[in-house]
Subunit: 229 residues, 2 copies
């Protein structure tokens, strides 16, 4: 364990924590051990870490955006804790260099994103359990949450949900979203003149209204985007 511990110790300053931070090295070792290496491996710690990152994101949003609605909280949290975001963070910190895995798993490029996200969550589990609180997590995770939340919460019109949704459905289902738009001419509210519904793989995923056909489609895409992200 000594050599491994030395290696794991180098991860701590990378995360922006003081070099002499004491963590439960045994747990951190397990958190960075892939299931192909037998047991113990990161699976149980990932189960804990999944709740830890959710709590960290919730607390962050509550502290930083006290005026936001719970609907916004949920939409943003969903993205902050998504595999895609966690894998990106994991990759940016070079977690793959710390992960012990079998040669066959290492060669599985298609499993890389879920592996990176899993090991990241498991590490959060180990860091949380080392202290029984979020003190080894929020100091370095908060700036990432801040950057992402700012991006997500900024003027929705600046984020093109139709494009973003299309990206998701193409990657996952190799299909494009389908929009069904209705014009309702007797509406008092011009914002409700057009009603769009977006369908993906034979299922309706979102509905939106707007002054133009395009605005209604964007509104529908936004709903579906947060559902499918």
């Amino acid at each position: 364990m000594d050599r491994r511990q030395k290696q794991l110790q180098t991860l701590i300053p990378r995360l922006g924590l003081p070099t002499d931070t004491e963590v439960n090295w045994e747990l951190l070792d397990i958190a960075l051990t892939h299931p192909t290496m037998g047991t113990p491996n990161y699976e149980q710690l990932e189960f804990i870490g999944d709740s830890v990152v959710r709590l960290a994101a919730s607390e962050f949003l509550w502290e930083v955006y006290p005026q936001s609605s719970v609907g916004d909280f949920s939409a943003v949290r969903k993205i902050l804790v998504s595999d895609r975001v966690l894998a990106q963070l994991s990759d940016s910190y070079g977690f793959d260099r710390y992960l012990v895995l079998s040669p066959s798993a290492a060669g599985d490029a298609s499993g890389k994103i879920s592996r990176l996200a899993d090991a990241f969550e498991a590490t959060l589990g180990a860091l949380y359990l080392s202290r029984g609180n979020l003190s080894l997590i929020r100091p370095w995770l908060d700036p990432h949450f801040q950057r992402l939340a700012t991006e997500i919460l900024k003027d929705p019109a600046r984020l093109n949900y139709k494009d973003a949704l299309q990206e998701i459905t193409q990657a996952r289902h190799k299909s494009l979203p389908e929009y069904r738009v209705q014009e309702i001419t007797d509406r008092a509210d011009p914002e409700e003149r057009f009603v769009a519904e977006v369908w993906v793989q034979g299922q309706s995923w979102g509905r939106g209204t707007g002054q133009s056909k395009k605005a209604a489609q964007q509104a529908a895409a936004k709903v579906a985007f947060f559902e499918l992200y």
Copy 2:
């Protein structure tokens, strides 16, 4: 707030915590204020509490059942944090007596279960934020988790999943589950002689195998039960 604080203080020993426990009374007051009373109300704290109870359940399972699979962890956690369980706990502690709500909401009997669960989660959020850890939560919540987990994890044969599933589908859809069973006579493993699939509302929810038709149905019902619980 003084009178309200005095009332809220009586909740603490009810939970089994020492009478002189200091909590953030302002947050606890908000946690027990229904949205019909305007803002602030329990919605944001419920958002935090939802993550808190999930983490408490995860940590509990990891500590008490270190040998369990992550699949079992997930199945049990799903039940421990379900609205049904949280509402039962909330009710058993008399949370409704502490909840401030408008007369119209108080008269809404159908909303009682979600109201009880919401206020319970929000209270967990307030207790967590009072300390930044689970020290005001696990001491009194763990025995409930223990009782429920023991019940859920005990010999599955003793829990009749077909009955339990039927109860759910009748309550929610006023319909009964439908089982489609196939006998496969050339199987080497007698445990796979019968294959059952359970359908609810035109959708297949679970598949199971067994030595008898009944065992296969129970196995399928178990899968569907954990999906639909």
